[in-house]
């Protein structure tokens, strides 16, 4: 039976390796961020000043943290009605029909489009549109970035909510119909209350996705290192500042970028954990 033992040890140690890998990631990020936290302390998080010029170097990540939360929040707000409608379309109104299969496939295709392709499309199609509408002179900014993020997270927000909506027991729906409820009333009073935590969780997970998106945002957000003054102002996000400024980074600046990566890691892990906990308590 030693063969069996070896197999079990192999499986167990692979699992330990995954834990070590993750612990190692956190350790390396913290280790890399130590210089910047030593230099500025909590000011690294609470200051919005970002100045890489030699001699007057100063690194504060606040404007990127705010930029990330605003673009992702805006994306969620735009995405919400679209994803909710799409999940009702696929999971309730046209359940198991050919048309809902087509809509579902197209929405799933969105998840396959690479981030940089979204960026290109946003730059050459969406941005001129924003300019034509007179919303901003260059078309770059929080709004355009939020718009492209909203499109990118539609499939994530749709998939789980479609599933939970279609899982609502028929007996409940039929009971409401038999009382004379219209379909809208069934949706509002039976389906949504029954599926709400699953729907909510899928939006949280979609929000988590938006937080870490890099390329498309980098190409559209305008990359200005200040707290955005409004929706049509330019800004920057944590992911895109890492991508943009990494090339020439060393010393304290590199440490600052790793520190931003650390914050991003914790925020996304937290958001995902919340989403998963809600899903778990639901099922």
């Amino acid at each position: 039976m030693t063969g069996n033992k070896i197999t079990r040890i192999l499986l167990g140690s692979s699992s330990i390796l995954v834990l070590l890998l993750t612990a190692g990631m956190v350790y390396s990020l913290i280790n890399g961020a130590i210089p910047v936290f030593n230099e500025y302390g909590l000011k690294f998080i609470t200051s919005a000043e970002w100045n890489p010029t030699e001699g007057s170097e100063y690194y504060g990540a606040l404007s990127f943290i705010i930029g990330t939360l605003i673009t992702s929040g805006l994306a969620l707000v735009i995405c919400l009605p679209l994803a909710f409608s799409a999940s009702l379309f696929i999971g309730e109104y046209f359940r198991r029909s050919g048309i809902s299969h087509v809509v579902g496939t197209l929405i799933n295709l969105l998840a396959g489009v690479p981030s940089i392709v979204y960026g290109l499309w946003g730059f050459y199609v969406l941005r001129p549109l924003v300019v034509d509408l007179g919303l901003s002179s260059q078309g770059f900014g929080i709004f355009t970035a939020g718009l492209i993020l909203a499109i990118m997270i539609i499939p994530y927000a749709t998939s789980i909510s479609t599933e939970v909506i279609s899982m609502v027991p028929n007996e409940l729906k039929e009971a409401a119909y038999s009382l004379g409820a219209t379909r809208f009333e069934v949706i509002a009073n039976v389906i949504v209350p029954n599926a709400r935590s699953g729907i909510f969780a899928s939006y949280i997970l979609a929000f988590g996705r938006a937080l870490g998106e890099t390329m498309a945002v980098t190409m559209l957000v305008g990359n200005s290192n200040a707290i955005p003054g409004g929706l049509f102002d330019t800004g920057n996000t944590m992911a895109s500042v890492i991508a943009n400024q990494f090339g020439e980074a060393e010393g304290l600046k590199l440490s600052a970028l790793i520190g931003i990566g650390l914050i991003l890691f914790f925020i996304t892990a937290l958001i995902n954990a919340i989403g998963k906990i809600i899903i778990k308590s639901f099922s």
């Binding site: 993750t22 749709t158 997970l205």
Partner: protein
């Protein structure tokens, strides 16, 4: 309760209005993907020819000359294609065996606390932004192992991205295999590793392949982590400790060079086509094998 909510006419109208709203919103939700695909095809197809696949990317000067003469930009994306294939292959070689072993562990110990921890950590890993994985691979491989930007570093960042997907796929696939098949093997006295290799994996092969293809299609379009790790290279490179290009990296370079606009679209079309084909193949396998 419902009868109190108003007269019947209004209730019927509200019902129809809501249905109309749902349909309109759903149509809006699917418009972008149609627009993106048609835009890429209409702009990119012109530049796709044999050269596109067998030549490396042109430099700025070549592209500028061609553009000013009104010609098609010479060269292709061979260095990107080979780089993408190389890095994805290495990433898969790291992530697939490890992911399958961990997935089997989770399947064997479904309710153990340690397995629950591994499952949660794997979920967290799946949510880590790709750019952060780029930072990690930079710190681990670029700084410590290859002493410079390298294909290996790119592969490591991609493999960490694939790992949780492979773990999840393995566990889910194994759960679908009837336990009697496994027990039949064990009852015959077959050693456990042989049950895994000869029974579990072959039975679940299509599920595993589907999940692995999905994982590959997820990482193949990644740009951000490669910017921090593989960097890019103007020539075809198969040496794993040297900077290497990739299709998404080339798109990023073309995007930053005003002379290369035509190549942007064809490369993006190629990348999207590649990713979506992988997606479709994996979906087809999944559909043909699910009972």
């Amino acid at each position: 309760m419902y009868l109190k909510t108003g007269n019947i006419k209004w209730r019927m109208t509200r019902d129809k209005l809501f249905l109309g709203l749902v349909i309109i919103m759903s149509i809006i939700a699917i418009i972008p993907v149609i627009l993106i695909i048609t835009k890429l095809i209409s702009k990119g197809i012109r530049q796709i020819n044999l050269d596109f696949f067998i030549r490396v990317a042109p430099d700025t000067f070549e592209a500028m000359t061609a553009v000013s003469n009104g010609e098609i930009i010479p060269g292709g994306i061979l260095n990107g294609i080979t780089g993408t294939l190389l890095m994805t292959l290495i990433a898969a070689l790291i992530a697939i065996p490890l992911g399958i072993l961990v997935g089997l562990y989770l399947y064997e110990n479904p309710s153990q606390r340690f397995a629950g921890l591994v499952r949660d950590v794997s979920d967290i890993l799946q949510g880590v932004p790709s750019i952060v994985l780029g930072l990690i691979a930079y710190l681990w491989i670029v700084k410590q192992v290859t002493n410079g930007f390298s294909a290996l570093a790119g592969s490591v960042s991609l493999s960490i991205m694939m790992l949780p997907l492979v773990i999840r796929t393995t566990e889910e696939t194994m759960k679908m295999i009837p336990i009697s098949i496994k027990e039949a093997g064990l009852a015959l006295g077959v050693p456990y590793h042989k049950v895994i290799l000869r029974v579990l994996i072959p039975t679940g092969m299509s599920g595993l392949v589907t999940g692995i293809l999905m994982a590959i299609s997820r990482v193949i379009g990644e740009t951000a982590p490669l910017m921090l790790t593989a960097l890019g290279s103007p020539a075809v490179n198969f040496i794993i400790d040297r900077p290497t290009s990739a299709v998404p990296l080339l798109i990023w370079e073309f995007y930053n060079d005003p002379n290369m606009i035509d190549l942007i679209w064809s490369s993006a079309l190629f990348l999207l086509g590649f990713v979506l084909t992988l997606n479709l193949i994996s979906k087809r396998i999944a559909r043909n094998t699910t009972p």
